[in-house]
Symmetry: C2
Subunit: 214 residues, 2 copies
């Protein structure tokens, strides 16, 4: 498989936090926001914030900072969050249900149109307004809906099999919450979510505090 | 608040994936593993993998690679995953329940000893073997248990209030799954988990694929 040449992973990962802060500034009626204000809010260096924001194509003005409205537009456009993106979710367990109820997603244009599960007790109900459909209709339904993105929250043993079906149905982007490294063709992108990454960060911060002698 | 001077965030975030692969190599009886093998497995550049692993203090041998057992020990030691760390979880909703059932954590020394919720229907039951205790006993129980780490999965409106109580009870490390930027004293570390970060990555990969003309 070709390597994904995506520049500046950590910069991209920070953009949603910036967006959150800048939207709050907009709500408060601010016309401009400085990189330093954003940096202080997130305990980052101002130079880092300015570098990160530059990838969206926007440059701040000396002393004034960034025009709030244009900055929001630039970040949203860079992320493709300025248009609605339909997705299906597969595997309505605790994590799947939690994701369906995650309210931030509505601000990012993510629209979960249907979820699939094989549990007869769940099928026919809705979770946070999303209908739960039978897993064995997934391929057909995804094709009919014309959806291209899937959120994968099935048990790990079912991950590859489900992925193969999703790809047959036309899915080209998978947000993978299982711990399986999925095999996919070149035209399909996968973002693997690993909760252990955040835990590793926390543990290293704890060790660093100890070294500081606290 | 002082800035957390933690080097190489993305390197740290990748260590758990490396560990996963290296443990599999150990299971298969391999004595050595090369940076290139790890890199191919994760679609990274070998030089990146070698740089990342160097932060744990280990250097590979030319041609042979890294001794598997020593590499596992080095990563685990760097992350503090070679000893058991007790934690409590607060807020037993869907996300909280999902985290209590997340099996990877047992390989990282994370031991959730108790969970707290205010729902009388949940109190007294167990989720994935973890007892659910009344929220109003939290401060006392955390103090008695001597636990220092808390996983925060309460609704955002309750995040700061719960944090204040946890800190009073002796908690010094918080894994924050709410979207609130918590105010904490200098001696407390917080890792904020933002699911939007991964979604941003996925969206940028989709945009990049389109530019490639697929």
């Amino acid at each position: 498989m070709a390597k994904q040449k995506i520049p500046a992973t950590p910069s991209i990962r920070r953009l949603p936090s910036y967006l959150h802060i800048i939207r709050q500034a907009e709500k408060e009626g601010d016309e401009y926001i400085s990189g330093t204000v954003i940096a202080n809010e997130l305990n980052l260096e101002p130079i880092q914030v300015r570098k990160d924001l530059a990838i969206t194509g926007i440059i701040g003005k000396p002393k004034k900072g960034y025009p709030v409205h244009a900055l929001i537009t630039a970040i949203e456009h860079f992320l493709g969050w300025d248009s609605i993106r339909d997705a299906v979710l597969v595997g309505v367990g605790n994590l799947g249900s939690a994701l369906m109820g995650y309210q931030e997603f509505q601000f990012h244009g993510l629209n979960i149109v249907a979820a699939f599960d094989k549990d007869p007790k769940k099928i026919g109900s809705t979770v946070h307004g999303v209908p739960i459909l039978p897993l064995d209709t997934m391929e057909l339904q995804v094709r009919n809906l014309g959806v291209r993105m899937a959120i994968l929250t099935v048990p790990s043993v079912a991950a590859q099999e489900t992925t193969d079906l999703l790809i047959k149905a036309g899915i080209t982007a998978i947000w993978n919450f299982t711990n399986v490294k999925l095999k996919v063709p070149d035209n399909v992108v996968v973002q693997k979510e690993d909760l252990s990454s955040g835990y590793a960060m926390l543990c290293v911060m704890i060790q660093a505090k100890k070294l500081e002698g606290r």
